[in-house]
Amino acid sequence: MTGDLAFALRGVGSAVGGGFALRDVSFELPAGYVMGLIGANGAGKTTTIRCLLGMRGIETGEIELLGHRMPGPVALRQDVGVVFDRTYLVGDWRLAEVERTLRPFYDRWDGTRYRELLDEFGLDLRARVKDLSRGMAMKLMIAVALSHRARLLVLDEPTSGLDPVARSELVGIIGDFLLDEGHSVLFSTHITSDLDRIGDYVTLIHDGRVVRTGPKDEILAAYRVVRGGPDDLSGLVGVELIGVRRTSSGAEALVRTEEAGLLGSGVLVEAPTLEEIAVPAAVDAADTAAGTAAEPPARGERVNAVVRMTQLHLRTVAPYRTLGLWCSGC
């Protein structure tokens, strides 16, 4: 067991029906950091989290959580705060009852902290769980998680359906939680901008497989976004364009940082956001799974990923439809 890891998944596979919901999922988070688990709806984020928490069985691999190989002792749950995208508390409970009900289960429950947090979040102890808005319910779940002094906070799509103000507040709350260096956070989301502020590590999951995992800054530093006119990204030599998007007014693609210097002065080269990396990476993963990556565009040749994007469109664009991926011939 590795003591300084918040958690680690090694070769985890989990079956659902006749197939696999997760395949060979491996990633780990050192204690004291935040990991963003990014993926489209249905990519396997929730299944991964449920496996991590021992709420779902695994067929292959092993999971380590806070120094214990799973399934670990029940007491391990004292150290883990869990926030799902919808509340798992009884709707008829008032917030005061939530505390009365949960307090006996936790050795380190801090009632004062719970009331302070509710007050800070603008939650009334007399309110019923079912009457809370989505944002308020999320804050309640976080208040519960923080009130039993969890060391690891696991949040599954906590910002899904929240307005920008509530999302910003949530990110601030997580930031406060991280003031303690022993605290760690696993944060699954399909809204990558949530992680721009607080993410230390990123794991991109697609179709039940880990596409990319590592420190966020390393992943961000490995790529550059290149933007230019409609024809500026054609006929480039020595540069592989990843996930080309073209519109009538221009074109945009991702390139590896070491190749960015070959682009010349006619195009704009910028640091990417996680979202700009996540979509092409998922596309590449689908490409690999389909076997079409066996013949990657050769370096030194004119590279145009548009045709490849067209082939992949039906398989991969749907989850990212809002991002407006362009493909020729569609």
């Binding site: 021992g54 709420m55 779902r56 069985g57 029940v74 749950r77 798992y88 009884v90 949960l102 289960f105």
Partner: protein, 180 residues
């Protein structure tokens, strides 16, 4: 509840206690499973630092407590009814019916709970209700059970109740909950 009202309206206080025990106690017993399905309590149980076995045993404890509470309330109601109607309570009949109620309850819970724990209320409620009744009916027909026969075997049957519940609880504690 209709049957219960009918019995009460029949003004036979002897029947009130077993009627409550047979009709109301199972409803009370399955209530946690209904709430668990509605409020996703299985996720809460999985998050709380409480072993699955404790949750299972708690369900059985709740069911037995519900039965005893129902019997207690029924006894009080029967006494009030007898007083209001000016009729005596027939102790021996009452004990026999109560004993049979306990046996029925134990079989019902003993069969139903492992199914509820494994599959959840929403998926198994009909089968969970019908199966114990079917087993009892088959036993009555195949063994040619009559009221006097049951009275004869009642002490043994009543003693078997806790054994059935314990065996059921041991089995249920080994079962995984429904998959999320």
């Amino acid at each position: 509840m209709f049957g219960l009202l009918t019995l009460i309206l029949a003004r036979n206080p002897d029947h009130v206690v077993p009627a409550l025990a047979v009709l109301l106690a199972p409803l009370i017993a399955v209530h946690p499973f209904v709430v668990a399905d509605k409020a996703d309590l299985r996720t809460l149980y999985a998050v709380l630092p409480v072993p699955h076995r404790t949750v299972v045993l708690g369900s059985y404890a709740w069911a037995v407590a519900g039965f005893l509470g129902t019997v207690g309330a029924g006894a009080g109601l029967a006494a009030l009814l007898a007083r209001a109607e000016g009729v005596p309570l027939h102790g021996s009949d009452l004990v026999t019916l109560l004993g049979l109620s306990w046996v029925l309850f134990a079989v019902n819970i003993g069969v139903q709970f492992p199914l509820l724990i494994r599959f959840g209320y929403a998926r198994i409620s009909v089968l969970g209700t019908v199966l114990p009744l079917a087993l009892v009916m088959v036993a009555v027909v195949r063994l040619h059970l009559s009221f006097p026969t049951l009275q004869h075997w009642l002490p043994l049957l009543c003693a078997a109740g806790p054994v059935v519940l314990a065996a059921s609880a041991i089995l249920a504690a080994r079962l995984p909950g429904p998959r999320a």
